[in-house]
Symmetry: C2
Subunit: 220 residues, 2 copies
């Protein structure tokens, strides 16, 4: 499978536009943990994932993280090219959560593509709308859901992404996803364990009662 | 001043596109408190404010509100036309915060404009980026700032918008802006009063020490 198969508006571009994009593409393989983009001061370009998993997060002044969305195969990361969108005024950090293969479209190439092609501009709109929706979902969680529900939702989501109920993840990393502190997460996980919903061991959280976690997550 | 002067991409449209937009426009005067849009099930269209003030907010299952952004003269409301953006999956409610004069561009007319014109599509992108930035700012506030800082920031913002330090606003309305409860806001305002930062009376919050509020707002 080539870039053309991964880029949804490919067929709507002119031959000249296609050539310009192909000629400027960079293909990269990055290891789990690699930092791909660290805020709007960088002009990394658009990242189109061939295969792998990226995490986009924001950082507080005190260094606390919170995951705002994740990107999987075929997803495109827009905010690593925030430099070309002057109305976008926030800093997103992007790191590889798994070993990842991706293409980078240089920001200036994408910018002129958007200016020339309504199809490319509308596709960009659609991408931004998707990310916006994810952030609004998160906002509603943070505003109105207590941490136990958010933790339950996170563990269930992880299990779905990883395809296993035995999650290799530290309390620190969970805290970084949820914008919380390690100590707070450890306390809540111990409570979950005492309720029979998870079993804890070093670097591992095993889900032992999915139904109970689900009912906690959706409980009002 | 006519619609043409308020719509930034007007000059980049073809004569035919201009005609289509002008022919479909609806001009409306609404009273303070009027509900203009109530979620993605409605296809209200884009709202371009000639003069006035709108508030966009989200609602929890239990009926709690939180303001996500406000719109002023010349601003355009995009999410009242979320029906034409299939990737946008959240419900925003829009109400008039002051008596407002506005134009409504029907959603289908705007959609075909975006499909035909890269300029219109890129302008839409820019609008979405601005709103996204406001929501990200709010998210950072909610994640990492305590309610006293958020309340201080809100009072200072209100004073700037209204051009007065004597704010005619109830504790209930402040709670609705901040996604909090009236009782919580009342308690915090009484604390502010005891610290000499505000003076409370019926339906009124008067700022008495702006510098102290500012230092509280930015205090880490």
């Amino acid at each position: 499978m080539a870039f053309q198969d991964y880029f949804p508006v490919w067929d709507k571009l002119s031959a000249q536009q296609q050539e310009r994009v192909l000629g400027s593409l960079v293909f990269r393989r990055v290891k789990k943990g690699a930092l791909l983009h660290s805020g709007s001061a960088e002009c990394t370009g658009l990242l189109l994932i061939k295969q792998g998993q990226l995490r986009a997060y924001i950082l507080s002044d005190e260094g606390r993280e919170v995951t705002i969305y994740r990107l999987f195969d075929r997803d495109m990361c827009l905010f690593s090219a925030a430099c070309i969108m002057r109305s976008v005024q926030f800093d997103v950090i992007v790191e590889a959560e798994k070993d990842t293969e991706l293409w980078i479209i240089p920001a200036d190439v994408y910018q002129s593509l958007m200016e020339q092609s309504a199809a490319a501009a509308n596709y960009t709109n659609e991408l931004m709308g998707s990310r916006f929706s994810e952030v609004m979902w998160l906002m509603e969680q943070v505003m109105w859901k207590s941490l136990d529900k958010r933790l339950a939702a996170f563990l269930l989501e992880e299990a779905a992404i990883e395809g296993t109920d035995e999650l290799k993840i530290t309390h620190e990393i969970i805290a970084n996803h949820l914008g919380s502190h390690r100590e707070v997460i450890t306390r809540m996980l111990r409570y979950f364990q005492s309720e029979g919903m998870v079993r804890l061991s070093r670097g591992m959280v095993a889900i032992t009662d999915k139904e109970k976690l689900k009912s906690l997550q959706s409980d009002e």
